[in-house]
Symmetry: C2
Subunit: 369 residues, 2 copies
């Protein structure tokens, strides 16, 4: 269902986006400030139901690309994603009728909202990751046959590049990443331009509104003195994501992170309260794998999130600090992201992990037995 997004929705949306960011995605608070300003200046943003799109639509997703560690020190000026969209429109010789997120977690939930508000176009309630992923070919769009290129990338000076790599989306990622690094670690892109039926065939639907709902769920659980994790689990049951569960509770005892090849890479170690049990989470921008006492418990593309123990507030890998008391909450990814072709693009092997993907709810059943 289409709806208008107002400034009152932003807090919940950003909280839900941080959750779906699975530890990465870039701090959505940065995007929140941009969107709030645009909403104040231009009024509410129309969020389109993807089922309303037609073959006359040209949907051009917009996003930020870069390492979350760099983003916090290099805030957007505001015109960058507009410049990227305009450059791609110019290249295609057509105007976008709507924009859309490429990922529904982190700052990239908010960049298209900002573009939509500024340009007075709607944003589509869908995305191509159903979460956040670190690389540009890691899209259901790509898995189901949409070329990402031509891609437009823009910097804060209005300088741009158009990358055309045919149907080779990994090469598109490689070149765009190389330019992003030369930009200082953050760039703004427009890519995966497509018509309405292609959105309907390849996108994960209703993920912007899902972020809004999950953000609201955490907030209302908190005000109602209900366990936010329980509330999230119940809310997820009625969605494409189905399962949610706490897989570990403990204290952050170690976080290693470095910026390598344009990504933030590292791992976090958590120690249980009152037992010797430990949980290690590895990340490349986003959380990739969570192991408890050496046993794999959640694997990408299933979602791993870290929630503040008392408030349920999602904490990004970037914000994890020694001594924080957290719960590791797993969410099953939609079935369309667990197909063999999807796993070939963003399953464990795509991140250099040796494990075969097993749904986290099956791993949980094994761990519990």
């Amino acid at each position: 269902m289409a709806f208008d997004l107002t400034i009152d929705d932003l807090g919940d949306l950003v909280r839900g986006a941080a959750l779906l960011g699975t530890g990465g995605g870039g701090d959505p608070e940065i995007g929140r400030a941009l969107v709030a300003e645009a909403l104040r200046a231009h009024g509410p943003i129309r969020v389109l139901d993807p089922s309303e799109l037609t073959s006359d639509d040209l949907v051009i997703p917009t996003a930020l690309v870069g390492a979350p560690s760099v983003l916090v020190e290099r805030l957007p000026r505001g015109n960058e994603p507009i410049d990227a969209l305009r450059r791609l429109e110019q290249h295609l010789g057509r105007k976008a009728t709507a924009t859309m997120p490429i990922e529904c977690g982190g700052i990239n939930s908010t960049i298209p909202l900002y573009v939509a508000a500024r340009l007075g176009i709607p944003v589509v309630d869908a995305d191509g990751m159903g979460r956040a992923f670190p690389e540009l070919q890691m899209e259901t769009f790509a898995v189901y046959g949409v070329p990402g290129s031509p891609l437009a990338i823009a910097d804060e000076r209005g300088h741009t590049a158009i990358v055309q790599t045919g149907d080779d989306n990994k090469k598109m990622e490689s070149w765009a990443r190389a330019i992003t690094i030369r930009m200082g670690g953050v760039g703004y892109i427009a890519e995966y331009a497509m018509d309405g039926p292609t959105v309907q065939r390849t996108a994960i639907p209703y993920t912007l509104s899902l972020a809004l709902r999950l953000g609201r769920t955490i907030r209302t659980a908190r005000s109602n003195h209900r366990d936010p994790a329980d509330a999230l689990r119940d809310e997820l049951a009625g969605t494409l994501y189905q399962h949610g569960a706490v897989i570990f509770t403990g204290k952050v005892v170690d976080v290693e992170r470095s910026t390598e090849g344009g990504f933030t890479r590292g791992s976090a170690r958590l120690a249980a309260f009152g037992s010797e049990s430990t949980c290690v989470i590895e990340f490349q921008n986003e959380y990739l794998v969570a192991r408890v006492d050496g046993q794999t418990r959640v694997l990408v593309p299933d979602l791993i999130t870290t929630l503040h123990l008392e408030t349920g507030e999602p904490i990004t890998a970037e914000s994890l600090r020694y001594g924080q008391r957290v719960r590791v909450f797993a969410i099953s990814t939609p079935e369309v992201m667990r197909t063999p072709e999807a796993l070939a693009t963003f399953g464990p092997a795509a991140f250099g992990l040796a494990e075969e993907f097993v749904p986290f709810e099956e791993l949980a059943a094994v761990a519990a037995s």
Copy 2:
């Protein structure tokens, strides 16, 4: 004066281009094979006198970008520079009336000849470096106000990017280099598109025919049992380059090279015959500085070349080997490349060298006194 370049000219042209490559520029023998094939298929190439160009002309220079060390293991397929030119034409919405070298040394003397032969367009007898340089902003075009971008870059799969960095030619270099590295170290470009009067105002004229003349000079000196260095010096006296002189004679005793950031970097050490004197030459693709017994004798943008002791054949940094007996031959760069604005772009400081530029003929006078 315009002329037709035939297959019989290629040997001399390639020898002269190796000389003007100042140790770098990429092995022109690789380009020779490409051009020879195109000449056989398409007949002679028209080489235009730059003074014949008009404001109706659209000259699009074409070139290879990359590390010479990589090029020898990664030969062009043939369509790459054509793809780059076509992509830039498409972006500009206009066809090139001619192509031109961006540098008159090394393989980039031959790439535009290949493009010209294949497409049946003329090549302009001029270039933007008057030698070879490692970076794309190091152009007299850039020094005298021509933006290098939009730049088109193509790989061997026909994948392309268009880089638009306004008048920031260093950023253009940075982004194009980053893509080149992701391409595996070699890419093909079209850039610095300009009209006839702009060529006349900013290019170094007659450098293709100069390469041809210098290559012929070495060959005929050899057949006439004349010292090739003496013959070169005499031939240069009538050109924009004016001075040429041997600054060292000896044996190669050490060469260090590595591929870093898309460039071949390193140094070569030569030992004199029958004395303790040594000459050290540093390079970044091209030779940058030659020091004899610690005293600076030639500084970029003056040209440093290494000639085989007996034959006078130019030897590239890539081909320098222990035990080779060579002469280090210096050539003064044209005056238009010694202005303060030119030195700011490709003088010693642009390469991280601490020395102020002093013309080599003045350094020679000091060394001799």
